[in-house]
């Protein structure tokens, strides 16, 4: 067991793509925690998907040993997710640390998430060690990046290590900085047990495994523990730490970071931010900062092949084991049959879950348009939360509708300001502030409905600014809006899975675009298929798919037989992925295509 004064608990925060995972890899390598041959680039991101997208979702704390001047230090690196969807998880990871390495890209300087993460670290009273990364790039200007860190973030940065994580340049300076700049943890190992859960995952053999930071007391196998927010009790079966693979140990004491297993059946019982204490000698009050994670983006997920409902259920159950933020409830759509309404932390989270279902469980799915949760105030004084447009009550019973707003920061070179402001205005953004940071960067602050962001705001922002703008946002509040339900009718029948809640001013345009997209996506059938977009009973857009009058009357002799049979079989296979709405056949692609509406 390490002496408390030789422990350093820290994390790395950075804007996406500024090299966080690469630096983590280099630190693990430099401390000899893993032999180089065992290294797979960015090994902390354990899921393929994360590695492919270069983003981190799951946190994986790693214990590293580092000798300096004859003293052996224990460095606990707590990796954090780099995406705005996971701000709460980041804040809990930060709460487990005393210090934070702030990576600033030597070429790009301070970006929206650099700042947002730096503020999060400061909020958690962390010491910040700025590190200027990517000095090997031709565009690098370390001096300017340092100056910007001082001016924008407001931290001393002139002595910041200048490194290249990719090339392994000056990594030792970072290690020395960790020991010098970050304080050792405090805490009394003889006091009653106080631990923070900052992440958990599911292990097939051990059950839910909590990643914890011990603040007070000592935790060992056999202890009876209490989770203070869920009020559940467990018997500890194993404690240990990660290197980064799990290594059991005798005990974890105040100041240490590691894991605890206690035959916990569900990850949902191990909520991030919860406090673990002793069941026999509990502390009076849990650690501050706990929040129940709430999904903010919702969409319906249905099996593309209607007979695969059980497989989808199975997939979601398995994913949920490892992802307590994922929520789902069974849903029955007249259009799509049985499926699930799912709640996500954000769009990225949604996409990751969708991709994992398709990839890890080999299931094709149909996803309905993502939406947010609305507050519906009814004339009888009650309030209803609605995340599925088809559950919106009769307009006559609605007194008012409120939708979630976000508070948003955009950083951009000044030449793109006009384009961004246009975009924000189109998306009903309310300009709060414009600040010139220096001659090449502007900060725009907006309040904007969350619903306007979840379609393609980020893509649009990137394309209007050639990728230079960066974005950060947090949910702020609910505000009244003039919202309407947009229905799509096929052959006169409303199709629930295609309904949307939109702002009245955008309804016409969106209705027209959806009708056009559907016209392309729906194959011709033996009868004419009118496609209508409607608000209430009023039709606002119409397209028609003409009836098939003739298909190819090719000859069919010897060699044609198998060829033609295969052609028709293929056609049939395609139709299996179609849904019959009324008696209109609609391919799965139709539901997906309408999500891809560009402005």
């Amino acid at each position: 067991m390490a002496e408390q004064k030789n422990i350093r608990n820290f994390c790395i925060v950075a804007h996406i793509d500024h090299g966080k995972s690469t630096l983590a890899d280099r630190l693990i390598e430099a401390t000899g925690t893993l032999a180089t041959r065992d290294m797979q680039n960015q090994l902390l991101d354990s899921m393929d998907l994360e590695r492919e997208r270069g983003i981190t979702i799951k946190l994986a704390p790693t214990r590293m040993l580092y000798k300096k001047d004859g003293v052996e230090y224990v460095l606990n690196l707590i990796d954090t997710p780099g995406h705005v969807d996971f701000t709460y998880e980041v804040s809990r990871s930060l709460a487990a640390c005393e210090g934070a390495i702030l990576i600033v890209d030597a070429g790009q300087g301070v970006e929206a998430q650099t700042l947002a993460n730096a503020y999060l670290a400061l909020d958690n009273n962390l010491e910040i060690l700025p590190v200027i990364n990517k000095i090997d790039l031709p565009s690098a200007n370390p001096q300017k990046a340092k100056q910007e860190s001082e001016d924008v973030v407001g931290i001393p940065a002139m002595h910041a290590p200048e490194i290249s994580a990719k090339e392994g340049i000056n990594i030792t300076q970072v290690l020395d900085g960790i020991i010098k700049e970050f304080p050792a943890p405090k805490g009394d190992k003889n006091a009653p047990l106080k631990c923070l859960i900052f992440d958990s995952y599911y292990d097939n053999f051990k059950g839910a495994v909590c990643m914890i930071r011990v603040f007070d007391g000592t935790l060992k196998a056999g202890d009876k523990i209490l989770f203070m927010h869920t009020q559940k009790q467990f018997d500890v079966t194993e404690v240990g730490y990660f290197t980064p693979s799990p290594k059991p140990c005798d005990c974890l004491s105040a100041g240490e970071v590691g894991y605890v297993c206690a035959s916990i059946k569900k990850v949902a019982d191990t909520q991030v931010g919860d406090t673990i204490t002793s069941a026999t000698n509990p502390i009076p009050k849990p650690l501050a900062g706990y929040k129940k994670v709430q999904p903010v983006v919702f969409s319906g997920i249905f099996p593309a092949d209607g007979s695969k409902f059980n497989e989808l259920k199975d997939a979601l159950e398995k994913l949920k084991l490892n992802d307590s933020a994922l929520e789902y409830t069974a849903e029955n759509s007249t259009a799509l049959g049985f499926g699930f309404r799912c709640g996500f932390l954000g769009l990225l989270h949604m996409e990751v879950i969708q991709e994992r279902i398709e990839r890890e469980f080999n299931l094709e799915i149909i996803t309905t348009a993502p939406g947010v949760s609305y507050h519906v105030y009814k004339t009888d004084g009650s309030m209803l939360e609605v995340s599925n447009p088809s559950n919106l009550p009769e307009p006559s019973t609605i007194q008012r509708l409120e939708e979630p707003f976000v508070h948003m920061h955009i950083y951009t070179p000044p030449e793109y300001m006009g384009g961004i402001m246009d975009l924000c205005q189109q998306r009903r953004g309310i300009s709060i502030d414009v600040q010139y940071i220096d001659d090449r960067r502007v900060k725009l602050v907006y309040d904007m409905p969350l619903n306007e962001i979840i379609y393609d705001f980020f893509d649009n922002l990137k394309s209007r600014t050639k990728g230079y703008a960066s974005l950060d946002y947090e949910l702020s509040d609910y505000r009244p809006s003039d919202l309407v339900k947009l229905d799509i009718l096929l052959k006169g029948e409303p199709c629930d899975a295609l309904s949307l809640i939109v702002h009245r001013e955008h309804a016409q345009e969106r209705g027209r675009m959806i009708a056009e997209k559907l016209k392309e996506a729906i194959p011709r059938q033996q009868f004419e298929v009118p496609i209508q977009a409607a608000i209430g009973g009023k039709i606002i857009a119409r397209e028609t798919v003409k009836a098939v009058r003739k298909d190819v009357l090719a000859k069919c002799y010897g060699g044609d037989i198998t060829r033609k049979r295969k052609l028709l079989e293929k056609q049939k296979e395609g139709k299996k992925r179609m849904r019959t709405l009324g008696n209109v056949e609609v391919p799965a692609e139709a539901f997906i295509n309408i999500l891809k509406i560009d402005n």
Partner: protein, 372 residues
């Protein structure tokens, strides 16, 4: 004794037509003799296997079989007759193009045992023939019919195309009228297909040529069916029309999913529960040992789909009792929903135990519904 059909492919033409996607070669006169020899060798490889079989039809298709010297055809037929059993009513068809047909050939074919001729007329309009790249005229066809009749042929087919550029319903009526007057007793009326890799494909893609649109095609086909009926030609399959008693047995065997063996370059076979084909390379066919390619064993599923697909192309339709017995199923139960829907839309009918398509124009749409 079991029965089957022979298909013999003659992959040679005088010239290549702009819409043709078949395997055929031009300027290969020097190969004719050797190709004939190889055909006979290939046919003989089945001698033992077909001991207990009778041939119910033989079909020389192409390409242009009439381009071969008539002696070649005679040799092939005599090899078949010497080594295999033929039914008494065995139908022996030869495809001929007017430009490579003459009086001498007509008599030679007749003497060799050919009892059905099929002419690739395609159009009665010389301008259209020229556009399509056909090397013959309407007059050539009239001569060919005359020689065929003189030689004693009664069972004569002519192919015509529906949906050529600028075709009017009147053009089509005139053509059918003309064929009826010529005493042709079978007409195959095919919708013009634009096959990839053809010259026509490029022309249509570059908008050099405009084909009739969907509504026009629908009308043309309807006109053809009506006009043919008026002259006594009954439709017995989507594209095939005959005076009663002159239906093509060879093709009926295909639609009944009967066994057949194909000989020659690129010829297909369905035999012993297997689909397979020959090499598409003329050189390989001439010089390498015979070898089945792309062999596909039938499965209950493919057998069922094929049976449905082929039977529903015919006017008689699908015999449900036979089908249920063969595949140990209950078709009407299995496809209850589809049958109801399609019946309501007036696209099919069930009469006397036969399921029939009543609107052949959307036959693919209907057939696919019954695929498993």
């Amino acid at each position: 004794m079991k029965e089957l059909s022979f298909y013999i492919h003659i992959p040679f033409c005088v010239s290549k037509c702009i819409y043709c996607g078949f395997v055929s070669f031009i300027n290969k006169q020097n190969c004719f003799e050797f190709y004939t020899k190889r055909l006979q060798e290939e046919i003989l490889t089945y001698k033992q296997i077909l001991k207990d079989y009778k041939l119910k039809s033989i079909f020389f298709g192409g390409g242009t079989p009439s381009i071969l010297p008539s002696e070649c055809i005679c040799q092939i037929l005599s090899t078949i007759k010497q080594n295999f059993n033929l039914t008494k009513t065995c139908e022996i068809t030869l495809e001929a193009n007017p430009e490579s047909f003459d009086e001498q050939k007509a008599f030679a074919y007749k003497n060799a045992g050919i009892n059905r001729l099929s002419f690739g007329l395609q159009s009665c309009n010389n301008k259209v023939l020229k556009f399509l790249g056909r090397p013959h005229t309407k007059k050539d066809f009239e001569n060919a019919i005359l020689w065929a009749k003189n030689a004693g042929f009664k069972n004569i087919n002519a192919d015509i195309l529906i949906g050529t550029p600028n075709q009017t319903t009147q053009n089509l009526k005139n053509a059918i009228n003309f064929l009826a007057n010529q005493g042709v007793c079978h007409i195959s009326a095919y919708g013009l297909m634009v096959e990839e890799s053809t010259q026509l494909f490029k022309m249509v893609n570059s908008k050099q040529v405009v084909l009739p649109n969907e509504d026009q095609s629908v009308k043309l086909y309807e006109t053809a069916v009506q006009e043919l009926k008026k002259h006594g030609y009954n439709r017995y399959e989507i594209s095939n029309f005959a005076i009663k008693g002159f239906e093509c047995k060879h093709n009926q065997n295909y639609w009944a999913r009967g066994e057949f063996l194909g000989f020659g370059v690129a010829a297909y076979s369905f035999f012993g529960g297997e689909h397979y084909e020959n090499t598409k390379s003329l050189d390989d066919y001439l010089n390498l040992p015979f070898q089945k390619q792309n062999v596909e064993k039938e499965t209950p599923l493919t057998a069922q789909n094929e049976t449905i697909m082929l039977a529903l192309r015919t006017e008689n339709g699908l015999n449900l009792k036979d089908f249920n017995k063969k595949f140990n199923t209950d078709f009407e139960k299995q496809f209850e929903k589809e049958l109801k829907e399609l019946q309501q839309s007036g696209l099919i009918s069930i009469q006397n135990g036969y399921l029939k398509i009543t609107n052949f124009q959307v036959s693919n749409y209907i057939i696919e519904k019954f695929f498993v």
